[in-house]
């Protein structure tokens, strides 16, 4: 096999440059356990699946790309091997290879699909009961079948440019809610009912799974589970306006006991704050009456209009 000198030189220079760039990038430190060219390993059952898929698909892909480059280099260098078999030859073989590759990827993808839809139930014993809050007018669609076992749920609303979380199951006068930070119990499946109150958003915490679409008019029901307690950063991934880059979120996974304490504490906080606000408003009205300011200008105008009508 005789490769003409200029082609060989060019090919080897190209390979050298490409290889060193690749090696350089691979050696760069990434975040946590990620290399520069592969993602962090998982913090949740969903991401461990995605992680495995990543290595399989891109690993096979890398082999395919290297094979194609090598085959072309060999083909370009080799002498003519007879052009008679123009139509017949390659036909059957390459189609078979293609179908085999399709089956391989289809099996991998299918397995991943069913795996994602039937995760092991969480091992944590807990008395949480799923209690979904929903707006009955919205269409509900199931994105992932949740695993059996203990679970709780959170109602996620995307807004321009914040994430609002509502927590169920707490007795009180007010909804328990939080903005930006989602507090969940670690090790327990958390069902998310995701929607949006204005434009399209998508909720994405890389260490806990894929991005979850927040469509106005729909409730997207899916689930996440954080295996360990910790803080996980996330963001929105659909451009929702000019402030979109700062539409981040954070998931704080606490141990189930800490979570229960936080939840009841939050309800107390909110109740106290709303009571204080009510008192302030009431006090303001009383003060206005004492100061002799009387009813507001609008009320006076309304009375005047009524009086004119009745004349």
């Amino acid at each position: 096999m005789l490769i003409p000198a200029p082609t060989f030189r060019r090919a080897s220079v190209f390979a050298l440059v490409a290889g060193s760039v690749f090696a350089l990038l691979a050696a760069l430190p990434g975040s946590a356990s990620a290399g520069a060219l592969w993602p962090d390993s998982a913090g949740s059952p969903t991401t461990s699946l995605s992680n495995t898929l990543f290595f399989i698909v891109f690993g096979l892909g890398l082999i395919a790309v290297i094979a194609v480059i090598a085959l072309f280099a060999k083909a370009a260098g080799s002498d003519s091997e007879g052009a008679d078999d123009a139509a017949a030859d390659g036909a059957g073989k390459s189609q078979t290879v293609g179908v085999v590759l399709f089956l391989v990827f289809a099996v991998i993808g299918g397995y991943a699909f069913f795996q994602n839809n039937s995760v092991e139930p969480s091992e944590v014993q807990s008395s949480f009961k799923p209690d979904q809050l929903q707006d009955k007018k919205l269409r509900v669609a199931n994105n992932l079948k949740p695993p059996k076992g203990a679970s709780t749920s959170v109602y996620v609303t995307g807004q321009q440019f914040l994430w609002r979380y509502q927590y169920p199951g707490v007795k009180g006068d007010w909804n328990t809610y939080s903005y930006h930070d989602l507090i969940i119990p670690a090790g327990i499946t958390v069902m998310l009912d995701v929607t949006s109150s204005d434009v399209e958003h998508a909720w994405w915490v890389p260490e806990l799974g894929g991005s979850i679409s927040a469509m106005p008019g729909y409730i997207n029901r899916t689930w996440i589970r954080a295996d360990k307690a910790g803080v996980y950063e996330g963001r929105s991934t659909v451009v929702s306006g000019t402030n979109f880059p700062s539409m981040t979120t954070r998931v704080i996974a606490l141990s189930p006991r800490d979570y229960a304490a936080w939840l009841s504490g939050k309800q107390i906080e909110i109740t106290e704050a709303m009571d204080a606000l009510g008192a302030e408003v009431a006090g303001g009205i009383e003060q206005a009456e004492v100061d002799g300011q009387g009813p507001s200008e609008l009320e006076t105008q309304a009375e005047d209009a009524d009086a004119k009508e009745n004349e």
């Binding site: 990434g30 052009a83 659909v238």
Partner: protein, 574 residues
């Protein structure tokens, strides 16, 4: 010469009599022309200008991203520039480039003297130019800032009252409408105007790919026109709640209608690049394309699967999981036609006498990029991976590979290949090689850096970021872009200079096999006076074999010039 109209006996004898009106300027003549070659050049010219303008816009956005918490551009300006550059890369550069090449080359390759509806095609080309002008004029008013997604209901009047959205929608209607008109012309030309002997089996691969591209555009682009019209109506008369759920509409509907064209478009661009690469490699190997029947079937399947895999946009969305499974299978099935195509290319190069010329070397580079694109496509067809990566920079890479990889690398190779035919001059090979090398190297750097950012969690379409861990790779992207920029500028300068005073190229500088190389360079208005007998996919190879067999005559091409009034085209059949 009789001036009365003589009804031709065969369709392939239609002649375009182009009156040269010396009272009008050259440019007016070009606009009024009914010559498919002029229309093709309009599209190609549009794509080159669009590339330059989009590149400039992207340069500014990349400059903003080289700084952590950058303040080079405000988010409004950043998104405006990002919208313009993404829209332009896909709608005004990649699609028109292959539309133009198809319009120019398809009739020549099938031995037609004209295209079926040249003035419709011309209208399409100028509609696309008009749409492009509107898009680039919109900063004067206020540019739409929602990126190429134009996601609803962000684009409704309630959330974005600025007239920039209306301009974007009108530009989209004009461009998609223009491409549709051109596609009608291409499809009908392919079906009806073939010379005798150009059967389905003997159709050259690029002609076939152009027809598949045209059918793809016919199936997808009108839907964008309809959707944009609906969005415009909703913006003007908000009482019609079409996409805004507050008024009773459905936000998912816009995504469906828009992505049906916008997600499929990169695959249509890739089909054009596949066709061109097949021709280039076959010519450089001195033989016809190996397994060409299989490749044509594969191109058809590629188009169908590429369009149907638009369902990937629903991954992670509020749809039943069963759809995820179906669209995964459809997406992964693309591996089958891709394997057939790449194997055919390798076989062609292996079994022929490969001569490394600039177009053929970079056709091989495109083949590698195509493989990478298929790998990414398969990855994004799996819901678990797609949901995980689509919101990151890897999603941008997935889009870029088939839009810019096919459009830039594949498209530039194709332009270099047909440059001698279009202009009649040879380009400067060493400079072209350098230009392509720089473009490819820059693209590779950008791709690697983007992939690395994406797997690290860097989001897509971000106007700024606050973590300095991402800064190094963003600088690398800018460096890669500048390298590519020099490459592309070098290529464009090469085209302009060679067109002006390059060496004259003959009919057939590449010693290729298809009919367009039989016509003079550049071809006259009626393309051919004589057409050789067509018995296979590579009629010129057959002609050369017959000459080499010693008969000394161009057997099968006894032809009369149509202007002498004799309608019969050939007198001997083989």
């Amino acid at each position: 010469m009789s001036t009365a109209y003589e009804k031709p006996e065969k369709v392939s004898e239609v002649v375009v009599r182009e009156p040269f009106d010396s009272t009008r300027t050259k440019w007016v003549n070009r606009v009024r022309s009914a010559d498919h070659k002029v229309v093709g050049q309009t599209f190609i010219g549009l794509s080159i200008v669009a590339l330059a303008l989009a590149g400039f816009c992207e340069l500014l956005t990349l400059a903003q991203l080289t700084f952590t918490d950058g303040t080079v551009l405000s988010p409004e300006r950043f998104y405006a520039l990002l919208t313009i550059s993404n829209t332009t890369y896909l709608y005004l550069f990649a699609l028109p480039l292959f539309a133009g090449l198809a319009t120019y080359v398809l009739p020549l390759q099938i031995g037609a003297r004209a295209s079926a509806f040249p003035r419709l095609s011309a209208l399409g080309s100028w509609l696309a130019v008009w749409g492009g002008a509107l898009l680039f004029f919109s900063p004067v008013i206020n540019v739409w800032q929602g990126t190429l997604q134009v996601s609803s209901p962000l684009s409704t009047y309630f959330y974005t009252p600025s007239a920039g959205v209306d301009l974007w929608l009108v530009a989209a209607i004009l461009i998609a409408g223009g491409l549709t008109f051109n596609a009608i012309d291409l499809a009908v030309t392919f079906k009806v105007l073939r010379a005798e002997g150009v059967t389905a089996q003997n159709t050259p691969v690029f002609a076939y790919a152009s027809a598949v591209y045209a059918y793809g555009v016919l199936v997808t682009a009108p839907v964008l026109v309809a959707a944009a019209l609906m969005a415009l109506i909703e913006r003007q008369w908000g009482v019609f709640g079409i996409f805004n759920p507050v008024a009773g509409g459905n936000a998912l509907l816009w995504k469906t209608l828009f992505q049906w064209f916008s997600h499929s478009a990169p695959y249509l661009v890739t089909i054009g690049a596949i066709g061109a690469t097949s021709e280039i490699l076959a010519a450089a190997s001195g033989r016809g394309l190996a397994n060409s029947a299989g490749v044509k079937r594969a191109i058809r399947l590629f188009a169908i699967l590429g369009i149907l895999s638009f369902g990937q946009v629903y991954f992670g969305g509020p749809v039943a999981p069963a759809w995820n499974f179906i669209f995964m299978l459809i997406g992964v099935a693309l591996v089958i036609p891709a394997t057939v195509i790449v194997a055919s290319w390798i076989k062609t190069v292996a079994s022929g006498d490969f001569r490394p010329t600039v177009p053929s070397e970079y056709a091989i580079v495109f083949a590698v990029i195509f493989t990478i694109g298929i790998v990414l496509h398969v990855a994004f067809s799996m819901p678990a991976l797609s949901q995980w990566l689509a919101g990151s920079a890897v999603g941008t890479l997935n889009w870029s590979i088939f839009t810019l990889g096919s459009g830039l690398i594949g498209g530039m190779s194709a332009l270099l290949y047909w440059f001698p035919k279009i202009t009649g001059r040879a380009f400067d090979a060493p400079k072209a090689r350098l230009g392509m090398a720089l473009t490819t190297a820059g693209f590779a750097v950008i791709a690697l850096a983007t992939f690395s950012l994406g797997v690290d969690g860097f989001g897509r379409d971000l106007a700024y970021y606050t973590s300095s861990a991402f800064q190094g790779r963003n600088i690398a992207i800018l460096v890669g872009f500048v390298i590519s920029l020099f490459g592309v500028i070098g290529l464009i300068i090469n085209f302009i200079q060679s067109n002006a005073n390059g060496a004259k190229a003959g009919n057939d500088p590449w010693h290729a096999g298809t009919l367009e190389w039989f016509a003079p360079s550049p071809p006259p208005v009626n393309n051919f006076d004589a057409i050789p007998a067509v018995d296979s996919e590579t009629p010129l190879f057959d002609v050369r074999e017959r000459i080499a067999a010693g008969s000394g005559e161009l057997a099968g091409s006894v032809a009369q010039s149509p202007t002498s009034g004799r309608p019969s085209l050939r007198e001997s059949k083989h």
